[in-house]
């Protein structure tokens, strides 16, 4: 059993009367690629954002490498965690290189090797001096990934990170992320509503419904019919699509 990178200890969060996350306890091993799957409003993004303190839990604790994230200022916690989200959020008034180097700049650290980071996300070094509005959607998300990894983050949080991309780019970027995850030895948590993406990329799939984790299985186990009704309803979608595609060819 590898060491635990992340532990959520009875965390809960309500927005008004609605519980978004309802008493979740969870451990995540170092080096695992965890997909958090669920419908819109199931609480998966809220859960993710409590890990890097973009959202503060009402009750419970979040421990990273055994240390409670609530100790110390929030910005110091966030600087150690890579976070990539659907909105991308590149700083439009900064060049690609300045965007990638922002983590080092605000922490007062030496500027990282931007060319190497661009190479890591398979972008040409020549775009370092471009402004974000001169890039395609896929290029922007790659820059955002490079920005998230630049400070040497070991924990990568992906919040619907591929949601706004076209299917081809989405598929390619998914594989590249998985490749990066393996090469750099990251611990990665991917929030997605797409069960196919989760099954293809993750080593462990968590299914959320109404703020609770209702299934916690490997992709193989889910495909074998484990995980219960809610999880199987989600697995049925890509399985059914694959069958219909196969039928079309026949």
């Amino acid at each position: 059993m590898p060491a635990e990178s992340l532990r959520l200890d009875h965390i809960a969060k309500r927005f008004g009367d609605t519980p978004a996350v309802d008493d979740v306890t969870l451990g995540i091993a170092k080096g695992s690629f965890v997909a958090l799957v669920g419908a819109s409003g199931s609480g998966k993004s809220t859960l993710l954002q409590m890990i890097n303190r973009l959202i503060t839990p009402d009750t419970g604790r979040v421990l990273i490498d055994g240390v409670d994230v609530a100790t110390g200022p929030a910005h110091l916690v966030r600087r150690r965690i890579g976070y990539v989200f659907q909105g991308i959020g590149l700083f439009p008034h900064m060049t690609v290189a300045e965007n990638i180097a922002i983590g080092a700049r605000i922490a007062g650290q030496p500027i990282p090797d931007v060319a190497a980071l661009l190479d890591l996300v398979r972008l040409p070094g020549a775009i370092a001096d471009r402004m974000p509005d001169a890039l395609s959607g896929g290029q922007r998300q790659r820059v955002a990934i490079a920005r998230a990894l630049a400070p040497g983050a070991r924990l990568l949080l992906l919040d619907e990170a591929f949601g706004a991309l076209d299917p081809v780019t989405r598929d390619a970027l998914g594989r590249e992320i998985r490749d990066l995850h393996d090469r750099l030895g990251l611990t990665t948590i991917l929030v997605t509503h797409d069960m196919a993406e989760a099954l293809l990329l993750a080593t462990r799939v968590l299914v959320m419904r109404a703020g609770r984790i209702v299934a916690d299985e490997t992709p193989a186990a889910l495909l074998a019919g484990e995980g219960g009704e809610a999880a199987q309803a989600l697995v049925a979608v890509p399985r059914d699509q694959a069958r219909r595609l196969a039928d079309l060819r026949a």
């Binding site: 890097n52 973009l54 200022p73 910005h75 110091l76 916690v77 966030r78 600087r79 150690r80 976070y83 989200f85 909105g87 991308i88 959020g89 590149l90 700083f91 439009p92 008034h93 922002i102 983590g103 700049r105 605000i106 922490a107 955002a144 920005r147 998230a148």
Partner: protein
């Protein structure tokens, strides 16, 4: 064209003062608005209150806002045991600063609110502190909208600074107000053009700063900022070498006679070795308080004005007794020295077109009162709210068909063009004779006498050099000479400046 060239020669010192005032107000406005804009953005409930207040200020007419600071500062100064100047730079600065708030706050909040939420989330996610987020992300992204607000504030402030003339702060408005009073259109035009050109240049330079920053051209915005800074620096330079104790400020109300007398006094004091400054266009209500408070050192007021206004008296004693009583009162109450009457009176005098007065057989105010219901009254801007009008109305029971206030020049125009039938003229005005007007007698002695009185501020009340320079003016100016001097400025053709008329008057009097 030479009149315009003469007018342009007056621009530089007034432009410098105008720039000092507008720049100080804009900087103060920025210093207050920027933190308020950030606060209003982060706490929308506070933002609504802040923007509501700034909008409310904006609805107050500029002139009124300036005027309101005068009593407010007087009261504050009294509460603080003195020392706060109620006239001049300070009230102008405060009013213009308030005026600059709204566009800066509103655009600052709009700029911050308009930032893509994803960018803000990214700033948090990469681990920026709130200050880093403001400095590295929010400020640069809100900048274009914010700068548009700053440009608006700059243009408004430069425009509204022309009104500071009325509370005794020199600005390009001095030319506009003086030109309007004396119908010196070259002066008005030069003042307007200078103010408009200043506003346009500043607007363009701030715009250049913004474009330089947004397009990441360091040279552009630094150069534009340098030009702005150099302009403010050049305007502030005269402050460093000011004359100290030898500076005398001469006050004047807003009509030609006052401008001429101020120049006559100024020329004599300059010859006596003083550095002379003028505060033109002050209202009757504020000018005496300005003298008592030391914002003005010398000015000419009229016996009846002080009697009814500052002293709140409504009886009408004989001329000599009245002057004596005023002198004793000013010395006792404020330490102000009444040096003496100049020798002429400038009383309120009801005047009609000569022909019409004869045709309707109106020779005095009793006859006027009988005909009043079918007549239209034109007055100067102050008259209808002055105690003299209340006294005259009580004595004769006037009930005019209409009563319309005009600036003095337009009041005479309105009478000669038939828009009104009777006006509250001034007895020393050259236009009474020139326009063939009939002055109506005051058989009930309701209007007090208006001897022109030379008043000296407490600071100079026993200054032998200054008193010695002014004493030759006492009792020296006959009303005929004053009328002639006034007419030289007020007439439509071959107009003279108040300076020229003052020189003519000095020569005529053999001074």
């Amino acid at each position: 064209m030479s009149a315009f060239a003469d007018a342009l020669a007056e621009v530089p010192p007034l432009l410098a003062s105008h720039v000092r005032l507008a720049a100080a107000a804009l900087f103060a406005g920025l210093a207050i608005s920027l933190p308020l804009a950030v606060l209003a953005h982060r706490r929308p409930s506070i933002g609504r209150i802040v923007l509501g207040f700034a909008s409310l200020v904006q609805t107050i007419p500029g002139l009124a806002l300036l005027a309101l600071f005068y009593p407010l500062l007087l009261w504050l100064s009294a509460a603080a045991g003195g020392g706060i100047p109620a006239l001049g730079f300070l009230p102008s600065l405060l009013a213009l600063t308030l005026y600059a708030l709204l566009p800066i706050i509103r655009n600052g909040v709009a700029g911050l609110d308009g930032i893509d939420p994803a960018v803000i989330q990214a700033a948090d996610a990469v681990g920026m502190t709130p200050m880093q987020k403001l400095r590295l992300v929010e400020a640069p992204l809100a900048l274009p909208v914010l700068v548009a607000g700053i440009r608006t504030a700059a243009v408004w402030t430069i425009g509204a600074a022309t009104l500071s003339t009325t509370v005794g702060c020199p600005s390009l408005g001095d030319m506009i107000f003086a030109g309007l009073q004396t119908q010196n259109w070259a002066l008005v035009l030069a003042g307007c053009i200078a103010a408009a050109a200043l506003a346009m240049v500043v607007d363009a330079l701030i715009g250049l700063v913004e474009r330089g920053i947004v397009r990441r051209r360091r040279g552009t915005w630094i150069a534009a900022l340098a030009v702005l800074a150099a302009g403010v620096g050049a305007a502030a330079a005269p402050l460093v070498q000011r004359g100290g104790e030898r500076v005398v400020t001469i006050g004047a109300k807003n009509f030609s006679e006052q401008y001429i007398l101020a120049r006559l006094i100024g020329d004599r004091l300059r010859d006596a070795g003083y550095t002379v400054r003028y505060r033109d266009g002050l209202g009757s209500a504020v000018i005496y308080r300005a003298l008592a408070g030391g914002d003005v050192d010398v000015y000419v007021d009229y016996a009846g004005t002080l009697w009814n206004g500052a002293m709140h008296r409504s009886d009408v004693p004989p001329r000599a007794a009245m002057v004596g009583a005023i002198g004793a009162w000013t010395r006792r109450t404020d330490g102000v020295r009444l040096l003496g009457p100049l020798g002429f009176e400038n009383a309120y005098a009801f005047a009609m077109r000569g022909q019409e007065a004869r045709r309707k057989d109106i020779a005095d105010l009793d006859a006027l009162a009988r005909a009043a219901p079918s007549l239209r009254l034109g007055s100067d801007l102050e008259f209808l709210s002055r105690p003299e009008w209340a006294a005259v109305r009580r004595a004769y029971g006037f009930r005019f068909a209409t009563a319309t206030p005009y600036s003095p020049t337009f009041m005479y125009r309105a009478l000669s063009s038939g828009q009104v039938d009777v006006i509250s003229a001034f007895s020393s005005d050259g236009r009474i004779a020139a326009d063939g007007l009939t002055v109506l007698a005051d058989p009930r002695h309701a209007i007090p006498s208006y001897d022109a009185l030379l008043l000296v501020a407490p600071r100079h009340a026993d200054d032998p050099r200054l008193l010695g320079a002014l004493r030759p003016l006492v009792g020296r100016i006959p009303v005929t000479a004053m009328r002639e001097a006034n007419y030289r400025v007020d007439r439509d053709a071959d107009k003279q400046s108040p300076d020229a008329a003052a020189r003519w008057l000095a020569q005529r009097l053999g001074l």
